[in-house]
Subunit: 349 residues, 4 copies
């Protein structure tokens, strides 16, 4: 019953197999191997345009390097005030960005609305030279609340951002989970809707440690190689990172893994609802947030269930967490089983 | 015939097996798994004292994070002027260190001598407040020239550094190669000789991507966790990094792998010497530097040999590289075979 | 009728005289002159304890250097969300702090309340290692809304901050204006109430360009000299900065100047109130904020009045700015005259 | 007998008068005053083309901000290894440049030669992505050795730098001193010879605290305003900085002051030569370096002479400093008198 995070799961077998298979002979380091080239080709096919790809081992690196590349140090990245960038990366974007500022915007269910973004951009003041310049909009897909931005939402947010001169970044640590929930292609869910740079996560989705920073305009990626290197994020035996991503995108594995994780979340949500603990936000990816009684919480923990308590300022109207209650986050993954869910829910009743 | 780098080799089988074995069940991320705790215990045993350990995926990260932790931004790290920190990390130490300065010192065979260090420290000026403060001495073990610092050399350098208030860091990307060449224990070769913090490399030695920053005084490691995290260097599925190091230090694997690599270097050096191409520096680890005729170089490359040309300002007196010659670096690894060496040398004659 | 800022005034005559008087003979640069030593002595007397003093030419430098010295890069400075640090320094604290984070707290009238601070500290999460660590509380005195923190408020806020391990900084760009409004000594208004470091402004108060970073615990100032120097903030002909501060603190000039500025603000507030435009916040220093009709605004501007429009999220309940209105900020200084006020108010009616 | 530095002199009377004169009425802060606009116009006339000007209070700020604007963080600024940037700014360029690297080049008399620059650029490796990229050449004019770069030297160095993609910066803390020694206009000595950005010093030359960063291509200055502001280097009562520069460039004051200082240096050099202590380097600006006996040194200090001992690795062949000798630096300024020189030299004999 491990619902603590999708990174508590191990590695999906085809990806582990690919790592093992990559261990043949010698290969030049630092990305000059053939597998690395194939990943860029593969992602260009996946996204239906030539992309520039920079692989790194962590999501924090992907996000922080991407933002630093899209924003001058006197810039500000606008994003949801409870997103991972703001709350869980210990200031990595500020560090890599030379002191750039993150400006958190409120929004129900972890999502920034067009109206909120517009208000922030209107309010200012920006630039000139006393004030930082709004330079990037960063959207988290899926959000920290397990919700997703639909294509038309991304399009409207990105259009507004572009109109005001901002670049648009997507933190896609759970991009696959979001994508398989939509009726949209990878291209439609990203650059066709206005995303300039995507942090495309594979680790939470089943890889060992592999994330890709995808520039939809390769010209924009100039010198990203130097930025990654001096961040210490150029893995030397790079073929093993590439092998993970190659396997991830082969045979639609990434979608299969994400569909499984999402399906388990749906199943968990349904069972919890039936047990009287309906999720507080729509379950659109692989995260389920529910309010439990402290009694149920204690029972679950005693039984070995693993998950984290959660707090949020972006709960829907009407949802409150009482003194004898606790809100918890339950994350499913490619490795979650029906048995785990059944056991978990049985302990709630 | 791949002698381009020790990172062109793959993963040593016991380490790959350990990665596969680690893929069982769930484990908390970010280092809260059991394997991570075991690695710290193991390294405490290896070094015969309680150490604080921070694992990362790249050597550049290990070095840059360590230096940033040992030096204020207005500090200067003194090191050999051809060491990896200075030449091959694209400014990572300066970036992580908030603009700290690297001061490169000359020295034959990639080594800083006590006399040179003393002269640099005497010359100054340091601090007060116009000048940077000499804050760290960083020794590369083995050096970029494939030579090693002996225990008594480390002791003398570290004593001088400590006398002047500097911390002492060791870039041990090839620490195992150096160690097995000495008649010294890991403790004797590090903290007993005055090393404060060691970047202990496993990747070049046979791991997939695993380096350990080892603080011999755990108190000095306060907040290193935050520094690593905001550098994007806290791997989420941390058990897989820990598994590599656990296997590396089990059953003396690290020494076996290093002995093999060094032995291959010795064999290569002997054969090259016999063929009239004696190494320019003593072969003390797993790197051999020789001057080849351009003709031999062309023949080798045509035959598929892989290696890099090299240049250095720290050649021994009397060694010159003629217009029709090229100096090359040949690196052996756990994966180098006698056949590769025989084939390589046969092409030189 | 210049109410644009207190920095639109020139230099108070005694301070200008002191600059002229300082121009005799030679003096060592970079603070090794005698006037600099006298300023430290004088401030030690003013604050009734030995202080360490670092003079700089701008308030932004004073604030940013102070915060960087009080906080690690992975720290967070908590402050009002409309304070100068957050809104008007183009990211200087983030830059000097190596990417530290400013966390803006809401509060009526530009003030952070104990309850708000407590809530922020309770909410967290902080540190460990995913989250930044709350490291500094910065209070702006007087606030951007022209209000002041009373001694007991400072004491309560600082006590809470200290309990949680935070240092306490005061941005005293308008410290003199605040002080003369209170029944408190400089010591009582600062370190006796828990302030650790004060950015003590003289520029807005009548100097040419002189600010002092005052450490109430000199031990805490270790290496601040290096930090200032590498920030480019060590003025070479330092005697001229020192001369300004020496004059400022001689003969109670600083209080006289501040009393005049505050008195003019009171007079302006009274006249505006009588004219039906009562200030939106209590006038406690030298700033008056009022809501004008757009018609009056146009009339004033046509007559050459100089001031800035203002917006705020921290207005008192019940205060709104209509579509045909504009809120404006009026700042008085040592140079403001009764005639300017009379003329201004006459144009409002 | 103060020869410690040109910044031990006070303010030239016309500049002090201008400060006093500027203290009339109100003026918008932060450079929106009329004097600031006039300085840009004046400098455009002085340099015979439209320039963008950013004024700051210190030379370190001018240099560090300029380099940070000309170089990416992964860049390297090449400069003389004993120049002010490298030795006396406590890492300011590295800090402002986000960890950029300074690469010091050797050269007699404080000067970088074309051959040395070429060798450094040829040697590399640069970029791609393991190595920093050579991004800026910074020339110090006059040099720290009191020598100057002639127009043809600047032209050759700049041409080489531009060919290799480097920008060219001039640290002109003593630009006026150099200029009046040449038969060249300000334009010929800068942009016509290939200088892209000039740190133009007025402080050492007679101002209180005023330096101008001059961009010869204003387009290159985009966002320099933000960079200056977040560095804390935008002086609020900006008219007083502008007034200094306006006076400095009025009536050829800058040349008169520099001619006086240089003339005093020449006189001092001649008298020292006559006394058997010929300068070690050609005296081309306002600095004289001589080797004194320790006995003479003691006699001078006992008599109250103020100057600094100096050491250098760039002495001409044949010049050595014996155990009973000391090399000293003697700096003249606009305030140096013939009497001071006569007294000084009389003590040497």
């Amino acid at each position: 019953m491990n619902f603590a995070s999708d990174n508590t799961a191990g590695v999906a077998p085809p990806i582990l197999d690919a790592i093992v298979a990559a261990n043949r002979g010698f290969a030049l380091g630092y990305g000059r191997d053939e597998a690395t080239a194939r990943v860029t080709q593969r992602l260009s096919a996946v996204f239906e345009r030539d992309v520039a790809v920079f692989m790194v081992a962590t999501g924090t690196a992907a996000n922080a390097l991407a933002l630093a590349h899209l924003s001058p140090p006197w810039g500000a990245a606008l994003c949801h005030d409870e997103c991972h960038l703001v709350t869980d990366e210990c200031g990595a974007p500020e560090f890599f960005g030379g002191g750039l500022k993150l400006i958190g915007l409120a929004g129900e269910g972890g999502k920034v609305s067009v109206a909120t973004l517009n208000r922030a951009l209107e309010r200012g003041p920006w630039g000139g030279p006393h004030h930082v310049t709004a330079s990037v909009l960063s959207l988290t897909q899926a959000t920290e609340a397990g919700t997703i931005y639909r294509v038309e939402e991304i399009r409207a947010l990105a259009a507004l951002a572009h109109d005001r001169g901002l670049a648009v970044h997507m933190d896609g640590a759970r991009f696959a989970n979001a994508l398989v929930r939509m009726n949209a292609s990878p291209a439609e869910a990203t650059w066709k809707a206005g995303i300039d740079v995507l942090s495309l996560g594979a680790t939470k989705a089943g890889a060992l440690a592999a994330e890709a920073i995808v520039f939809f305009d390769p010209a924009r990626a100039a010198n990203m190689g130097e930025r990654r290197k001096r961040g210490g994020h150029l893995v030397s035996k790079h073929r093993f990172v590439a092998a993970q991503l190659e396997a991830f995108f082969a045979d639609d594995l990434w979608r299969s893994l994400a569909r499984h994780a999402n399906g388990m979340a749906d199943r968990l949500a349904a069972a919890l609802t039936a047990a009287g603990a309906a999720p507080v936000w729509p379950v659109e990816a692989n995260e389920v947030f529910v309010v439990l009684s402290r009694e149920a919480d204690a029972r679950l923990q005693a039984a070995g269930a693993s998950y984290y308590p959660w707090s949020s300022q972006s709960l829907p109207a009407g949802i409150t967490v009482g003194a004898d209650q606790v809100m918890v986050r339950l994350v499913t993954s490619f490795a979650t089983t029906e048995e785990q869910i059944a056991q978990f829910v049985s302990l709630i009743r």
